[in-house]
Amino acid sequence: MSICNDAPILSLSGITKRFAGVTANKAVDFNLHRGEIVGLLGENGAGKTTLMNVVFGLYRPDEGAIRISGEPASIGNTADAIALGIGMVHQHSHAVGRHTVLENLMAGLPGRYGLLDRRSALKRLSEIGDAYGLRLDPDRLVGSLAVGERQRLDIIRALLRQARVLILDEPTSVLTPQETEGLFAALRALKADKVGIVFISHKLNEVRAITDRVVVMRRGEVVAAVANDGKLTNLDLASLMCGHEPERVVREPREQGETRLSIRKLRLDKPKLEKQAGAPIDLDIHAGEIVGIAGVSGNGQVRFAETVGGVETIAEGEIRLNGKPIGNPSPRRMQAEGLAYIPEDRIGAGLVGALPVEENLVLSRFTEAPFARHGWLDWRAIKDFATRQIAAYDVRPPDPQALVGLLSGGNQQKAIVARELAFSPRILVIAQPTRGLDVTAIAFVHRALMNLRDQGCAIMLISDDLDELFQLSDRIAVMYESEIVCDVPIEEATIATIGLAMNGGTKTRGASA
């Protein structure tokens, strides 16, 4: 490497990005050199994607500076980023489904004499195919492409624009092992061509296989940067990602209660395009037990939670609550059996932002006594209830009239918890309970869950946060490709085994029930 080329091709210093009250990136420094593949590792919500969206001009940083090959760069939008030689491949393909591959490739290119330049786009397409083994039929509709092919399209699109920096956001999360091998071959060829590559992932094996260096982010900050010298192990990376091997809460052994939630041979009702899970889901949750569901996001957890919550229909199999089979699940039906459901998408599915706290506190029960009689709302009962719950769960501001959308994430979550726990549920399904919350709010939610468990509630806890799962769960199950691949008591679980199972490594079934 010559001296004049020593400046990193991409250099970030002190990047800070805030979203309505949440700091997604805190003074992040990051460097990428020519011909280098850097793994950007971290759990969901660690700020990896936000950081790269800043580089690609989708978000504007609140603070910090970006340099390209040592030159200060001003990236106001994606066109600026592309002109500077930056290309980004998003986790979910950003392509126009009803246009052809070629149209998608040509969109945003200047053309020739004011006309679309099909010929040179085709020529570049075949050159890229020859050089990196990335080939696509230019006339196919993008909507008919498989996910792996759509990703290839995005990579080709970036290369067609002479990208020297290529950002790949979770590129393998949607690929088969064979497709992943093909991708890696292309990345190695690009690396040989001195392209700098950022590889965002939480798949440890892949990060070890392809990268030269690994940068680890947690809660918006860079916590470690290590060279991938061949001696890194998955365990090293996992502990960097999640912190140290989590402390175990010493809990009194409890007698196992009766089975409250029983799932038999359940297949989730999925959109046609997605691939079906291998084995159906079997899972039992007993009174006084927290079963943690671990998994890399996008492996069917959201749909699983929605199905058990009664929002989605069942394709196959059966859900039993308190021993009773629920033939035709609906949210009301589940609620009648004492099941409470707290979805992961707080403001999208759990709350109505434009309505006040008091109305949100009765969102799932306002048509029934004591809040309503014969279609008439009993505002006094609602207000009394709201005031009580706001006080009990310390929702701030303590104003039943405050619009929920203006509350902080922590207080929004407290409001949902206050609503769903108010009627002492027998079963609780809760997804990502602490995502995006600050430390005090997290502690509050954790305490509430532990109390509920001690009162004998059966809890299904879906989380991306391994710390949280290890702290709270009595048993941990892992969901991988809409399938439960591992189900072990907490005493037998280690970060390493669970992490491996999350990546489809092993199938372990411990003594469950």
Partner: protein, 313 residues
Amino acid sequence: MNIFDIVMDIGFFAAAVRLAVPLLLGTLSELTAERSGVLNLGIEGMMLSGALAGFGTASATGSLWLGVTAAIGVGMLVGALMALLVVTLRLDQTVTGLGVSLMATGLVFYSYRLGFGESSTPPAITPFSTIPLPFLSDIPVIGPVFFNQYALTYLAYLLVPALAFFLYRTPAGLALRSVGENPQAAAAAGIDPIRVRFLALIAAGGLAGLAGAYLNLAAFGSFTFGIIAGRGWICLALVVLGRWNPIACAGAAFLFGAVDALQLRLQASGAVDLPYQLFLALPYAATLVAMILNASRAVGPTALMQPYDAEQR
């Protein structure tokens, strides 16, 4: 006189083309806006603004072409206003479009009264005369119907392939279609969706203004309050019927020009005992049926009516 006699008359077809042209221009306008992802309910107001601007300028200066230019310019201004509201400020497209139409209508009527007063005979200008195209107008049947028309009509003919060419053969057209389908994808490809939609609405305004100007500078020669009379709304329907394709939209426009001409003749002849109003309802009814048939397949631009916010998470 029966329907058969009416329809077999060449004059009828020429009239059908005359009445189709404003619909054609308006449909191209609406198509441009919708392909960028904006439902333009302001089109009725844009056409009316163009009509008055064209008429006022022409009667003040005596130049019909200056009138045409003014109509396009004023239409573009209204288009820019609409863009400011729904693209930049991300106001709701439905209510805002209605608001723009209501406001433009009020302002146009007001300005007309200010400029021309309340005379019993509406002021008139000498409109464009028809220009038979050499050779083409000599073709039997087709010639007198299509090629003995106004210059603006020929311009409208040309605009159909021109818009199709623009949409499918130029980078800017591809950018416009991409933004209407998936603004996030367009942004990922380096296109600024805000800019594209802004420009699309300005262009749509210009085309709508031209449609308005055609009505009084070519077809009627005077301005009346009912000059647009819902033609803008018909254009919304024609875009659905033409399935967002310029060529098919042009076909739909000609079809309903013919329906319009037919009902006028029926009305004038008075002999046929047919409720001609039902013919007027046809485009709307056909659109409703088309929407029902299209319902299972997504036909319109995917991102129609979705505001674009770059920092949406």
